[in-house]
C-alpha cells in the first residue's frame, strides 16, 4: 500500500490529536467525578459535624440561637435534602418538617449521607445530613460537555493544523516532483522556484543545480558516447579477432588431445607391432624348417623305402606319432634333466651311441617308452631311419608352432578390433567394463610381460551404459602412466567392483608416486612431469573429461610405492 508524504505527516498528527481528544473526553470527566464525589462527601461530613456541634453546644448552654444558626447554615448548603436528628431509631427532629429518617437512605445512590454522633444531657443520637448527587451530576454533565467541546475543538484545530502542515511540506515537494517529471520527459531547462528557506528550499535549489549539471553532463555524455561508439567498433573488431584466435586455440587443443591419443596409440602400436612380429618370426622360421626338412625327406624317400624293412614300418610310424603327440612345452632345465635320464636309460639298454641317440630322441620330444622302439633303434640303418623320422616330426612340431603363433597374433588383432569397435560412437551402449580393461591389458601385454606382475580382482559386473572406446582410452592412459611410473618394473593391481550403484575400478601401481605439491594439478591440461616431447600433459585431462562425461568420479591416493587411481562410474549414468 502506497502512503503519501501528506498522509505520513497527517496520520500521526491526527492520530495523536484523536488520542488526546479521546483522553480529554474520557479521562477528565471520570477523574472529575471521583474528585467531586470525594469532596462532596467530605463537605457533607463537615456539614453533619457542624450541625451536630451546633446542636450539642446549643443544648448544653441553652443557646437555641446557635442551634438555629448552625442548622440554617447546613440547610442552606447547596443540594442538602435533609438534616435529621435520630435518637434510638426515631427521628427526633428533622428538616424538612415531617421527614422521617430511614437507614435505607444510607445506601441510596442519588444521595450522599453523612452521620455524626451527638451526646448531650437532654438527648443522645446521631445527626444525619443528606445531600443529593444532583449538583455533582450537574457538574459532571457540565464537565463532560466542556470536555466534549474542548476535545472537539482540539480535534478540529489539530486536523486543520495537520492539513496545513502537510500542505506546507507537500506543496513545495510537489513543485520539485513536477519539475522532476518535466526533467524525466527530457526538459533539462527546468528550474524549481525556491519557495521557502528550509530543507525543501535547499532541495529545490539542489534539484535545479542537479538538472543543470545533468544538462551539461548530457552534452559530455553525448560526446563520450560518440567516442565510445568509435571505440566500440575497434573493440568489436578486436573481439572478432579474439574469437577467431579462440576458435583456433580450441581447434589446436582438440588437435593436441587427438595428438595425445595418437601418441598413446603410437606407443601401443609399437608394442603391438612387436607383439605381432614375434609370432610372425616364429612362423617364418617354422616355415623355413618345414621347407628344408621337406626337401631332405623327399630326397631320402627312395632310400628310406629301400632301407626300412616292412616289419619295421609300423614301428617307424608309431615313433613319429609318439614324437608329435603334443607334450607340454618344457623349460630348458626340465628338458636337460629329462635328456640325462633318457641317455641313462639308453646306456642301461646297451646302446653304443647312447649320447647321440639320446640327443636325437630328445630333439624329437621322446623321453620315455623307448623300449617300444628297440628293434627299430637297434636295427640296420637305424641312424638314417631315425634321422628321417626326426625330420618328419620336426615338420609336425613346426606346424604346431605356426598354429600357436597364428593364434597369438589373432588374439592381438581381436584385442585391437575390440579397442575401437565403434568408430566415434555418438550413443552410449551397454558394455562390460572388465572386457575393456582386459582388451587394454592384452594390447599392453608386450610392455607388461617383462618385469611387471599384473593382478586382477574382478567381481561379477553388470553391463554399464557407456562409451566403451572412451573408457578404453581411460584404462589405456591409466595403465600407460602406471607403467611409466614404475619404470617397467613392479606390480600393477586392477580391481573392479560394484559399490552403491557404481562400478568402481581401482588401478594401483607400485611406482614412485605423485608428489604432494603437484597432486592438485595432475588433472590440469598440459600439466606434465615428463620430459619435453615425451607427453603432452593431456593424458589425465582426457581421463578426467571422459569420467565426467559418464557422470563419474575420480580419486587419487598416492604415496611412494603405492599409487591408486579410483574411478567410479554410475551403472545407470544418464540413460
Amino acid at each position: 500500500m502506497r502512503i503519501s508524504v501528506r498522509q505520513k505527516i497527517q496520520i500521526p498528527i491526527i492520530g495523536f490529536i484523536v488520542c488526546l481528544s479521546f483522553f480529554m473526553f474520557m479521562y477528565f470527566p471520570i477523574s472529575q467525578k471521583d474528585a467531586l464525589e470525594e469532596s462532596s462527601k467530605a463537605e457533607v461530613e463537615s456539614l453533619a459535624r457542624m450541625a451536630a456541634h451546633g446542636i450539642s453546644v446549643g443544648l448544653s448552654y441553652d443557646d437555641y440561637t446557635s442551634i438555629r444558626r448552625a442548622l440554617d447554615f447546613v440547610k442552606t448548603a447547596s443540594d442538602v435534602r435533609f438534616v435529621a436528628l435520630v435518637s434510638d431509631g426515631e427521628t427526633v427532629a428533622a428538616h424538612p418538617e415531617g421527614f422521617e429518617f430511614d437507614p435505607s437512605l444510607l445506601d441510596t445512590d442519588s444521595l450522599i449521607v453523612a452521620k455524626q454522633p451527638l451526646t448531650t444531657e437532654l438527648l443522645g443520637g446521631d445527626v444525619y445530613v443528606g445531600r443529593s448527587m444532583e449538583g455533582i451530576q450537574r457538574q459532571i454533565r457540565s464537565t463532560v460537555s466542556t470536555a466534549f467541546w474542548v476535545a472537539l475543538g482540539i480535534l478540529i484545530i489539530g486536523i486543520v493544523f495537520s492539513v496545513w502542515i502537510a500542505r506546507l511540506i507537500v506543496r513545495p515537494l510537489r513543485l520539485v516532483q513536477l519539475a522532476a517529471i518535466k526533467v524525466g520527459q527530457g526538459d533539462l531547462t527546468t528550474v524549481v522556484p525556491r519557495k521557502a528557506d528550509d530543507e525543501i528550499g535547499d532541495l529545490a535549489d539542489e534539484f535545479s543545480k542537479m538538472v543543470q549539471s545533468v544538462h551539461s553532463a548530457q552534452h559530455r555524455a553525448e560526446e563520450a558516447y560518440n567516442e565510445l561508439q568509435s571505440k566500440n567498433e575497434v573493440i568489436e573488431k578486436e573481439r572478432k579477432n579474439l574469437a577467431k584466435a579462440l576458435a583456433h586455440l580450441k581447434n589446436t587443443q582438440a588437435q593436441l588431445i587427438s595428438a595425445e591419443k595418437m601418441a598413446a596409440l603410437g606407443q601401443l602400436i609399437a608394442g603391438i607391432a612387436h607383439e605381432i612380429n614375434t609370432p610372425l618370426g616364429a612362423i617364418r622360421a617354422s616355415i623355413g624348417n618345414i621347407a628344408t626338412s621337406h626337401r631332405q625327406i623327399l630326397q631320402a624317400l627312395p632310400e628310406l623305402l629301400e632301407k626300412l624293412p616292412e616289419d619295421r614300418r609300423n614301428e617307424f610310424l608309431r615313433l613319429i606319432r609318439h614324437s608329435t603327440e603334443g607334450k607340454q612345452t618344457l623349460s630348458a632345465k626340465e628338458e636337460r634333466k629329462l635328456k640325462r635320464e633318457l641317455i641313462g636309460k639308453l646306456e642301461e639298454m646297451d646302446f653304443a651311441n647312447a649320447d647321440e641317440l639320446g640327443e636325437t630322441l630328445a630333439d624329437m620330444g621322446i623321453f620315455d617308452d623307448i623300449g617300444e622302439f628297440q628293434n627299430l633303434l637297434r636295427g640296420e640303418n637305424a641312424e638314417f631311419i631315425l634321422d628321417i623320422a626326426s625330420k618328419i616330426a620336426l615338420q609336425e612340431r613346426n606346424s604346431r608352432n605356426i598354429n600357436i603363433a597364428v593364434e597369438r597374433a589373432a588374439k592381438i588383432v581381436f584385442a585391437l578390433k575390440n579397442y575401437s569397435r565403434q568408430d566415434h560412437a555418438e550413443e552410449k551402449v551397454r558394455a562390460n567394463i572388465a572386457d575393456g580393461i582386459e582388451t587394454v591389458l592384452t594390447l599392453y601385454h608386450n610392455q607388461l610381460k617383462h618385469g611387471i606382475e599384473v593382478t586382477r580382482e574382478y567381481e561379477e559386473l553388470p553391463e554399464v551404459l557407456c562409451y566403451p572406446d572412451e573408457l578404453n582410452q581411460v584404462w589405456t592412459n591409466l595403465i600407460h602412466n602406471s607403467i611409466q611410473a614404475m619404470d617397467n618394473k613392479g606390480t600393477l593391481d586392477i580391481q573392479a567392483s560394484t559399490q552403491n550403484g557404481h562400478i568402481v575400478v581401482t588401478v594401483t601401481d607400485s611406482g614412485v608416486g605423485i608428489p604432494e605439491d603437484i597432486k592438485e594439478r595432475i588433472f590440469e591440461p598440459f600439466f606434465t612431469t615428463k620430459e619435453s616431447g615425451e607427453g603432452t600433459g593431456l593424458g589425465l585431462d582426457i581421463v578426467h573429461r571422459i569420467v565426467e562425461k559418464h557422470n563419474g568420479h575420480i580419486d587419487v591416493d598416492s604415496v611412494p610405492g603405492r599409487t591408486s587411481f579410483r574411478i567410479s562410474i554410475p551403472i545407470e549414468n544418464g540413460a
Partner: protein, 142 residues
C-alpha cells in the same frame, strides 16, 4: 391626674393579695397588643407555634435558666415538662419556622430584656415585674 391615681390604687388593690404568695407573672414588651393571655395562649407562644403577634411584631420568647419557684410555677401552669419543651424547641429550630427562644440567667435580666425587646415575652416573679414600667403583665400564676 385623678384618673392615673385611680388606676394605681386599683392595680395596687388587685396586686396586694398576690404579693404575699410570691406570684409568678407572665410579662410582655409594651409593644405587644395583647393585655391578657390565657393558659392556652401562653402554651402556644412557648411551644413556638405562634411566631407573630396580632400587629405583626415577631414573638421573642425568654426562659429562665435556673431552677426556682417561679420557673416551676410557670411550667406547672402550662402543664409542660422542661425537657419536653426543649425537644419541641429543638424540633422547631430544625423546621426553622420560629425564632429561637432566649434563655437568660436571672429574673432581672428577663425583665430588662423583655422591656427592651419589642414583641418579647417572659415570666418572672410579680415583684420583679413591678420594678420595670416598660413591661406588661398579661397573666398571673398562683
Amino acid at each position: 391626674m385623678t384618673q392615673l391615681r385611680y388606676i394605681i390604687v386599683l392595680a395596687f388593690l388587685i396586686g396586694m393579695p398576690l404579693v404575699g404568695n410570691a406570684q409568678t407573672a407572665v410579662i410582655v414588651n409594651k409593644t405587644v397588643p395583647q393585655e391578657t393571655m390565657s393558659e392556652k395562649d401562653i402554651l402556644d407562644i412557648y411551644t413556638l407555634n405562634r411566631p407573630r403577634w396580632d400587629n405583626g411584631t415577631r414573638v421573642t420568647v425568654f426562659d429562665l435558666k435556673r431552677e426556682g419557684k417561679t420557673k416551676k410555677a410557670f411550667y406547672r401552669h402550662i402543664e409542660m415538662d422542661e425537657d419536653e419543651l426543649r425537644r419541641i424547641w429543638l424540633r422547631k429550630q430544625f423546621s426553622g419556622k420560629a425564632m429561637p427562644p432566649k434563655i437568660v440567667d436571672t429574673e432581672e435580666d428577663v425583665v430588662d430584656r423583655v422591656a427592651n425587646t419589642p414583641g418579647a415575652i417572659g415570666y418572672v416573679s410579680l415583684n420583679a415585674a413591678r420594678k420595670n414600667k416598660d413591661v406588661k403583665v398579661v397573666a398571673r400564676i398562683r
